[in-house]
Each structure stands twice: as structure tokens, then as C-alpha cells.
Symmetry: D2
Subunit: 348 residues, 4 copies
């Protein structure tokens, strides 16, 4: 017999990704957010609730570390089987992962967890010895990992919170992970030149890219309490959309404005993460902004004396490693994770 476990009853539940304290239900906002359980059981189900207008949520299920399922979340409340028919005497590790990013463009888009159902019992999930926070754009949202190379449509189905360089980096470093990322947004300007579609503006909220009354009620716009989850490293992967903005003739801003925004954002990140190594990574799609980024880092370090901020350039996609929507494919995320994790291993 399956028994229902409300979230407030869950023992040994581990929640990934920035979210609120609300557990009935738990809202999953960001890429690679979700939960993990260890359960000794033959069967495990989860009740989820989803909604969307334009951009439906997708999720993946990993059992003992292996991706088993990946699917779209249907509107409404549904039970999803995480595993069944298994040896009831063995503990299974299950990870539920949101593949899609927080969807700025769709006020209604939502993915929530209500309850687990099992015939067994839960065991503690280990905390990893390290913590990493990633702040990024479509690259960090894993856009383009799924889908045929020729695809250009901007759809939920192309995102991945699993085969993603940030996730792979965390695995290699044995680290827990939080991602704040939004396709098209930048450090100073978004790809289409908007100065209000930038990560620094929303970094201090639980999930500030979201809009609308429903998301406000869910707590997305509340202040995020940085003190409760202090990362060993904050990885900023921004600049790619700014590069597109600056390449547009109609965009009349100047590079020093980007650099000032960079300095200001580094101050903000440092303020909330006093002990973290801060690494600005860049280059997976282009590297046109690298001088401006380094100038921002340099200016920040000179102003503050901070010595724990560095720049790491990542390899650009090639015709061998590109995925769909002209974004990095799985091969390229794997390469970026190798380069980044080797670097982080030296500094944390």
C-alpha cells in the first residue's frame, strides 16, 4: 500500500534551488531546482501541480544518478511515478529536477510539489561538502541541449537541468548547486537592449525574474535570505547577451557603462557571499566582451582590495559541439564542465 507523505511530514527531504519556506506545496522556480530523497521501497510516486500559458515546465527523474525519465508537466495536479516494481529492501536515491528555467514571459508558468507516495521509508540524503551558485543566461539555463541541431523555435522542450555544464560541474566537485539564470538577459543589457532585463536587478529576490500576482503570492519576489546557504563559489556567466546588445547599431550605450554595472554587481555578489570565490566565466558562445569583463573585475578588485574574484574564459562552441538553437549542445556542456571544474578544484 502506498502511503502519502505531506511535505511537512517528509523526513530526510533535500530541496535544491532557491525557493521559499513553504512546503505545502513546494514551488520549484529555477533551472535544476527540485528535490532528492533516499527511499527503501518498491515504489515511489510524486504529486505535482503545473500550469502554463506559453511555456510549459519540463522535468527529469534520476534514479541512483541515472536519468530515467524526462517529460513535460501537464496542466493541473498529477501523480508521476518515480519508480515502481523495485526491490523493496534496497535504498534508492531519487532526484527530481526541473529542466526548464523560471519563465519571465509566462506569468502563469508554475511547477509545484505536493506530496510523495511510497510503500517504504525515507533515509537521509547527504549534503555535499561544497556549494556552488551559478548566475547566468540561456547558456546556464541549458537552452539548446535538447532538440535537433536545426531547431530555432524558442520552446521549453529545448532546456535541460541535467546535461548542463553547471550541473556537471557541481557533480565533479561533489557540490550542491543553485542556478539563477534567464535566457536573453544580461549583466547591463539584454540581447534586445533592455536595461531592465538584467540579472543584477533580481539577484536579491527569491526568483525576481518572475512577474504577475500569482508569482508574487508564491513568494518569488520576496528577499532571498543569503545567510542560509553560503556557496563556496559564485560563478557568473554573463556578457553574452550584452555582446548582442552592443553589436546593435541602435544601442547607444557605451562599454564603460557595462563595466560600471559589472563593478556594482560584483559588490552586490560579494556583499551577500562574503567568503565565496567569485569566478566570472564567459566565452561559450562568443568572447567579444572579454576585455570589458576583465576591466570590470580589475576595477572592482582595485577599488575593494578583494582578491578572490577571477576571470575564466570557456571554450566557444564549434560545429562539432553546437546543440539546437545555435546554443551549446551536450558535448559542449561536458567540455565546459571539465574546464570549469578543473579550475574550481584549484581555488576552493
Amino acid at each position: 500500500m502506498l502511503k502519502e507523505y505531506k511535505l511537512s511530514q517528509w523526513k530526510d527531504l533535500k530541496i535544491n534551488g532557491r525557493t521559499t519556506d513553504c512546503l505545502e506545496p513546494l514551488t520549484l522556480f529555477w533551472t535544476a531546482s527540485g528535490f532528492e530523497v533516499n527511499v527503501k521501497a518498491a515504489e515511489l510516486w510524486v504529486e505535482i501541480e503545473a500550469d502554463y500559458e506559453a511555456m510549459e515546465p519540463w522535468f527529469s527523474v534520476l534514479v541512483n544518478g541515472a536519468p530515467i525519465a524526462r517529460q513535460m508537466a501537464m496542466k493541473g495536479r498529477n501523480r508521476i511515478c518515480l519508480f515502481r516494481g523495485r526491490n523493496p529492501e534496497e535504498v534508492k536515491h531519487v532526484k527530481f529536477v526541473k529542466d526548464t528555467q523560471a519563465m519571465h514571459d509566462d506569468e502563469v508558468c508554475c511547477l509545484q510539489i505536493h506530496a510523495l507516495f511510497t510503500d517504504g521509508e525515507f533515509y537521509p540524503v547527504k549534503e555535499h561538502p561544497h556549494k556552488l551558485e551559478f548566475i547566468g543566461d540561456s547558456i546556464t539555463s541549458g537552452e539548446g541541449i535538447f532538440g535537433a541541431r536545426k531547431e530555432l523555435d524558442w520552446v521549453s522542450a529545448c532546456f535541460s537541468g541535467v546535461h548542463n555544464y553547471a550541473v556537471m560541474t557541481a557533480e565533479k566537485l561533489d557540490a550542491d548547486l543553485r542556478i539563477c539564470s534567464q535566457s536573453g538577459w544580461g549583466l547591463f543589457a539584454s540581447w534586445d537592449g533592455r536595461l531592465d532585463h538584467v540579472l543584477p536587478d533580481i539577484y536579491e529576490k527569491v526568483c525576481g525574474v518572475l512577474t504577475g500576482e500569482h508569482n508574487r503570492m508564491l513568494g518569488a519576489l520576496e528577499d532571498y535570505d543569503f545567510t542560509r546557504w553560503q556557496p563556496d563559489a559564485v560563478i557568473i556567466n554573463l556578457g553574452t547577451n550584452d555582446s548582442v546588445a552592443f553589436a546593435n547599431e541602435g544601442f547607444t550605450h557605451e562599454r564603460w557603462e557595462f563595466e560600471e554595472a559589472g563593478v556594482a554587481f560584483l559588490k552586490k555578489v560579494r556583499h551577500h557571499n562574503p567568503k565565496a570565490a567569485i569566478v566570472w566565466v564567459y566565452g561559450m558562445l562568443d568572447n567579444e566582451m572579454n576585455i570589458s569583463i576583465v576591466r570590470a573585475i580589475d576595477a572592482y578588485c582595485r577599488q575593494t582590495g578583494d582578491q578572490k574574484v577571477s576571470y575564466l574564459e570557456l571554450p566557444a562552441i564549434t560545429s562539432e559541439t553546437v546543440g539546437c538553437r545555435e546554443h551549446p549542445g551536450v558535448k559542449h556542456h561536458r567540455l565546459a564542465a571539465e574546464v570549469l571544474s578543473a579550475y574550481l578544484q584549484k581555488i576552493i
Copy 2:
């Protein structure tokens, strides 16, 4: 607005896998069975119906050749989104693939297709210039492709009709594909020594591994009409479970019985596929039976003068290429497909 298309109305539908003529609904029996459509639309859904007691069906969705979703089929009738939010002016190729094999052990297990729903219109799907039929066991059923290496539980979730050497071989040869396979079954005996759990006994039925009244009503046990789909090559991948049976002390049969069964089965396969190259492949898990298999082929060729039957040994898994349940993993299926497709290219 989405418009419903009953199966009998579907134009340009392509059905993969042995099945009956019934289209309302279409029943998917075998590994890698399913359907393909080309549709110029923003959105496409399918209504499926599933049931199971022990072994639930799983399926995958490929859009323009790329795997996008893979999930368990829930009991009852459900609509599944195949894509949405796409450019309505472009034709998308969609392939719906049953990942799980026909489940001998579960009389109730069933996966059916009722209707498609789209806001666009359908276009013809190309027939590939070649046709391949595979007859096999768990290896050909893709058992062990999904799941962590350490998994030993025999569950539906570990099967794949996508990352499967038979499917990859068909892609490399630009061929349509039908698979008849059953985990644990053999040519002369099953892994547990049963002489009635053998592929030759059911080869002439639509899906003779199935049991029970419901499957009988669905047409699984009817004669299969070979004349309507004549493959260029029939690939037999049997012997692995016979090997397990013969290794069991309690199994008192002798090798010549296996060889006789082999000769008889080759005659049956040739009878129904008069023009096909017949290739007996073997070796992905062990090669203990290779001498007996070659003796069977040799005896058959001498008796009949048939010159289009050959033996090809495939590489065995290593610690690098094993998947879950000590079966071939994706890497090994890819290797086997390279070896087999290079061979088939020379003979068809």
C-alpha cells in the same frame, strides 16, 4: 484550435513494428514500434491508452530526429503533448517510439494510440529504401540501456527502443525496422531452461509472446502476414539465453538439439523471407554458443544450398561499455551498431 484526427482519417501516417490492421485504436506491441508523422503545425498531441499490472509501458518522443521526451505511460487514456509553441509554418517530423518490449509476464500490459490533435496539417513520411527485421532477446529489447550500472531489478524503466543497436543500425542503413524480441527467451531454450520460451515458436504470429484473452482479442496471436513487409535482411540475435540454460547442470539437453532447432528456425525464417540476407549475430554478452550457432548455419546451408545466411560475431561488453543489469549500455549498443551496419552495408 486543435482538431482531432482519428486514425482512420490520418493521412500520411507511418506505422512502425508488427501490428494488426486495426487503427481504432492502433496497438503497439514490440520494442521500437510506434508511428511517425510529418506535420506543419504549432502544436501536436496524441491520445494514448495504457494499462499494466507489473510492467508498465514506456515511450519516447523524437522531434526532427532528436529525442525530446521519455516517460512512463500512465494507466488509462491520456493526452500527451508531442510538441507545442513551434513555428506553425515549418514541417516537423515526429516519431513516437515504444521503449518497452512486449511483456510476456504481464497479460494486462498494453499501449495503444487513439488519435492525434493538431492545429496544422500532415505531410507524407518517407519510406526508407531498406527494411530490417531483428529477432532477439533482452539485448535486442534494449534492456539495461537506461539505469545506473549497479541496478539489478528487472523493471520496465531500463528498456530503450531508441538508444538500441537495432535502431541505430537501421538509421545508419537508412532502413525501416521491425523488432521481435523477448528478454530471457532463446532459440532452443530460455535462460531458465524452458523449451517453450523460444522465439521460433512465436515468430509467425503478430506478437506471439503475449498471453491472455485481452491480447488475443487485440490480434496479437493472429498469423503475421509476412508478404506485406519483406525485409532486405533478417538479423537473428539469439543464443545468449540458451548459453545460460546449457551452463545449468540441471539442463540435460544436448548441443545437437540447439543446432537442430537452429536449422529449423533458419528454414522458417527463409520460408517467410525468401529474398532476405539472413545474418545470425551473437556475442554482445558472451560467445559460448558460437560453435553451435555456426554448426547450425553450416548444416542449414548444406541441406538447402542457401548462400545468403551468414554469421557475424559482435564484440562483448567490457567494464567500459556495460549498462545496467549487466547488459550492454548505450556505448556498447553504439559499438555493436557500427560493427553490424558496416557488415550489412557490404551484403545488402
Copy 3:
């Protein structure tokens, strides 16, 4: 100061490959023959002597397992530097490897070792716990490993005794290795249909493929003393050239003759290697003879009751793995070594 060490003075010298007892000089006959030393020194040289008319010898030098040099042996007596300028306090392992096969076509072709020169001292070289003997043709001679894919000229430069599946297999199994192989030769017939160019005829001599008075004087044609080096496994890789012979219309022999020759050769190999596993491998270029080979093995086992003889088919080259002269390239030798070593690990 470098000091000369005559061979009879050499301590801790390890000789690879079938050869005679003569150490002044030591003659290297076969593919992958050579010597190994451990030496604590800054510098090490070897004096070699070579001759040829048509087919010059090539050799490679490995230091601490890494290939460092590969070059043609010039006519006459020459000193070759194996390493210099190194830390005199560290022991280096040096392996000198003959890349070219024994050259049936060139009576004059010869490679000999006269002396070592060093400023340091020698240390023992470990015996590997296993021993493997390979009997083969051009594939086992490593023909086609070096050279551009388009090359068709039959030249010494295309051979390798290093990037060779037999050598890689021995490394994976931690085994010492002896190779008897000759391009173009077969089990029953050579590629051009000669019945006297077959490995069984020369297997019992030190290096029976060689001809001429000089080679006779060097001891090539003397009986080989099997008792002094008993392999754990004998790997026969023959059949590829027989296949070419049988495909020729003018070749009027029949398959049963090949099979009888196979039975006879297995008896001979078993006679000299009473405890070895015998594995007949085949398939790297084609597999047309596999039924005949298996029939030979089967007949031999039935006649003798021998249970330690088996057949293993190796993958055939593809356009991705072919080397020069339409022979296996390095990638393919690596694949074959993976398949073969995984198999041997199970039986020895």
C-alpha cells in the same frame, strides 16, 4: 663516461620475441621483438647492425612506456641513442622494439643488437605474470598502422610493433608477448594461392619464414624450443589470406582442405603448448571464412576432447578505423585489443 656492455655481460637484460641463444650479437627476427632494460643512468646507447636489400628494418624506442623514437635502421653498424641528458639518479625503463616483421621476401634483411653503452648501471626487469603468443598475418604484423590512408605501396615503413593489437592486448593483460606473423600468408593458402606460404609450416622453427644462407647461419631455421617459454594463451589470427585465395576463381581447392589444415595446426599448437588456452580470432578485415574456421575448431575438439580451444570474432574495419593499405589503423587495433583482452581476461 659511457661504458660498453657486451651482451654476455649484460645483467638484467630481458629479450622479447623468439630468437636463438646467441647474444653476440642478438638477432631480432619477429614483429615486436626486442629487448628491455632498467637502467639508472643519464645516458644509454645501443649498437645495432642492420642490412636489407628491399625491405629495410624499422624500430621504435619506448622510455618509461612512452614511444619516443621510431626510425629506419640504416645499413651497417650504428650507435643509436636511447636516451641522454637524463637525471642519473633515476631508473629508466627502456624498451627497444622491432617494428617490422621478419621479411620472407628479403634474404638479406637483418636487425641485430651488439652492445649497450651507458654511464650508469642496470637493474632487473620484471617478468610479466602472463605470456601470450600470437600467430598471424599482416594484421598481426601491424601492417598499415603507419602511413596515410591512401597509401597502397607495400613498404617496411607501414608496419608497427607498438601500436599493434597484439602488443596492446599484452599490455592490458600484463603479459609478455611473442609474435609469429607474415603478411600475405595463411593457414592453408596465402593470398596468392600458394600452399607453402602458410604459418603452420614454419611454426616449429625459430623463424621459419626466412630464407637464404645468412638466415640459416643465424639460426632462423633451427627448431624452436617451446619448453622454455610456455604461453598462457596462443592466439591464432589466420584465415584472412585464405579468404582471398578462395575468392580467386583459379584456386581450385575446397573448404574441407582448409578445415583439415586447421585441425592439423590446432594439433600442432596444442602439442607444443599443452596448457595454453588456444583462441582463434578472426574478422578484422573480413569474416568470409568464419564457418570454416569454426568447423575446424569443432572437428578438432570432437576428435581430441580438448576443451580449451575457442573462436572469437573481432570487429571489421570501417571507414572510421581503417589505416593505410586498406588494413586496420591504430584506432582499429585499439578496438580489437579491447575486445580481445576482455575475452582473454575471462579465460586465463
Copy 4:
């Protein structure tokens, strides 16, 4: 019969690498320098002359693009076989490549080409449509490509002018190549803190890293005539040894001095290469200097208005890609070449 061709007689000879006009003999100074010929012949030899005290020269031979031989150059004048026994009716492309760098530490070290000997005739060698110049340190000298991972001795044998990212990049871009590089040297300071062991000081000479009367007589210290070989891109890979210098407590210079040196060197490089894209690459071993490098580039561009100078960071070695002497191995050179060539393809 072989016929001797003096260099002044050679038709259709192509010389790679900076050198003097002297052709009797031709002196090879730099990594990857050498010559190329197309020859329709059965046989081709070269007469070389070499000398050394500490650091012997090494060279490689490629036939039709495939590496065939790699060996140490012996002291004195010797004939080396480039190929023999080949089809006399086919044109072979032969490339002779110096594997070792110009050896600052060994005044006597020298490699020269005197003559070719062939039984055939020469044909023109194509000029590639692009030209690349690399300026670097041990990384660009290919140090550590050959040799076991554990090796630490600084010896000639560990260098490669073939499996080198600069060479691979040139191949991918269909470009001719010149390399100026020296192990241990830097932009502003060498690894051991010497300000006179820097590439900018010697960039304007034919081979200014060399010392001694013999090299002076050979023309190494003469002005290099940039006008006769104008590259499409100059790739500067410097900073790694400066990083070591700055990490040493005893080194009292400041980062702004490095930056000023960088600005000055960029001016010098631009002066001599008015149309080239200039790319400063860095990161294969560490990236500690990246901010200083970017500051130098930025300052240079602001001072001069030059817009064709950019920074590209290359991935750092990992435990998977390291070679010997803790330098990049072949795998890493291959990766760096992929990243760099993809970048260069966008800008030239």
C-alpha cells in the same frame, strides 16, 4: 640511381620557418621549421648535418601527411631515408619537421640540410592560402608532448613540432606556419625572473634566442625581414612564465611593468605585421595573468585605436590531458587547436 640535388638546384622546394637566405646548407632554427617537397620517385633521401653539446636536435618525417619517422639527429653529416621502395609513378608529399626548439642553452646545437637524393623528379608544393605566426614559450615549443607522464627531466626528446597545437591549428586553417618560441621565456620576465629572457627582445631577429659565434655566423642574429612573409594572424601565447616569476617572492617587479611590456610588444608586432589579426592566447597551464594581459591589450588598443587585437583564453590542462613534464599532452594540444582554430576562422 639516386641523383644529388644541391639546395640551389632544388626546384619546387618549400621552406618552413624563419631562416636565412643561405641554402648551402639550409639551417633549421625553430620548432616546426623544415622543408616540403613533392616528388615522383621510388626513393628519397636527405643529407643533414647536426651538432649539439647538451640538447640534441630531433626531427620528424611525414609522408603524404602521415608521420612516419621521428628520431634524434646524430652528430655530423648523415643521410636519412625519407622513403624508399615506393611506386615510382606516384607523387609523394614529404615534410621534414624539426621537433626541437631553437636551444638557447646550447650554443653548438644545430640542424642543417645539405642535399636531397632521389631517383625521380620534383613537383611544385602548394602555398597554403593563409599564414600564421606563433610567438610563445614551452607550450608553443611542444614541450612535454612526447614522454611518459611522470617524466620531469628537461630533454630534447620531449618536444614535438608535429603534435603541437600551433601546427594543428595551421592544418585546420589551411595555413603556412612560423613559430618563434622558447621554453621558460616570457613577455616581461622568464620563469626564473630574468628580464632579458623574453620574446620581445628577440622577435626582430632571424633567431635571436640563439647565442655564440657559430649561430651568429649562421645568421641567427641578423634582422628578420618581415616584409617577405606577412601572416594573416599573429598568435602570441605568452604570460605563463611571467606568472611563475611573479609568484616568486623574490621577484620585486609589479604588474604594471608587465602591462607596459605587453603594450610595447603589441606595438612592435603591429609595426612589423600591419595587416594581421593579433590574438593573445593564454591559459593552457594557468590563467593567473589574464587580467594583466587584458589590461595590456586594452591599453594598447586605446592608445593606438587598433581594433584587430583580441584576447582568447585557452582551456587549462586536466589530469586527463596533461603530458610529460606537467605540460600539455597531445590530447590537450588537440583541444587547444580546436578552440583556437574555431576562433581564428571567425576573424581571418
